[in-house]
């Protein structure tokens, strides 16, 4: 069974440019999450989709970040325009059900560098 897949694995862009990250969750997982780790700090929650609906987007840092999950399958996270402080690794994760004890499975991450 394929795990959570993310694309691109690495991206280097200039400040002010746009980047779109893609995530394909594990097949059959309705719950999809975005997290990020910047500047070697802790991993922080960004948002949570249940199917195509945003269940919780309280962790989105500002309106330069836009996440979508059309059709409840894959998701994209767009950063526009990118700033230097957006550099870090963006993790996508998925789970079958939304239950506090349920395991969330993470992808390999998309490593973003803004120069």
């Amino acid at each position: 069974e394929a795990g959570v897949t993310q694309f691109p694995s690495h991206s280097v862009i200039e400040k002010g440019q746009t980047v779109t990250l893609r995530c394909d969750p594990i097949s059959g997982h309705d719950n999809l999450y975005w997290y990020r780790r910047v500047m070697g700090k802790e991993i922080k929650f960004l948002l949570h989709f249940v199917k195509e609906s945003k269940q919780d987007e309280s962790g989105m840092p500002n309106n330069r970040f836009l996440a979508e999950r059309t059709g409840g399958t894959y998701s994209t996270l767009k950063v526009q325009p990118a700033e230097l402080e957006d550099s870090g690794v963006y993790f996508c994760a998925s789970s079958q059900v939304a239950f506090s004890g349920n395991t969330i499975y993470f992808g390999e991450g998309s490593w973003l560098t803004v120069v």
Partner: protein, 114 residues
């Protein structure tokens, strides 16, 4: 608000020796606790979790963790370290009040020397 503390930035241990990576937590309700590992240039891999029941939880690659409610701790352990265990380890917590969010610690780098 929930929080996780990993007091050690780095843990050094010799191969074959036991290892412990410490984690303490703070939640308002019953905790659900997780350990993830990140190998160099890789993603987060699930190791083990505590939901309820036996305080000693066994997970992947020979790791185990002990839930201690009175000390609000969930330390990760392994009886005999391998060089291949060298990685970044993250402790995480959820409770019912946090919805579906995981709150992570800052991570502990484990270095196992041959």
């Amino acid at each position: 608000a929930q929080s996780v503390a990993q007091p050690e930035d780095q843990v050094n241990v010799a191969e074959g020796n036991p290892l412990t990576v410490k984690c303490t937590y703070s939640v308002s309700g019953n905790p659900y606790l997780f350990w993830y590992v990140q190998y160099p240039n890789r993603g987060l891999q699930f190791l083990l979790k505590y939901i309820t029941g036996d305080n000693l939880v066994k997970g992947s690659y020979g790791f185990e963790a002990e839930f201690n409610k009175s000390q609000t701790s969930f330390h990760l352990k392994k009886p005999s370290a391998l060089v291949s265990d060298s990685a970044l380890y993250f402790c995480a917590v959820r409770d019912e009040s946090s919805g579906d969010k995981l709150t992570f610690g800052t991570g502990t780098r484990l270095a196992v020397r041959p």
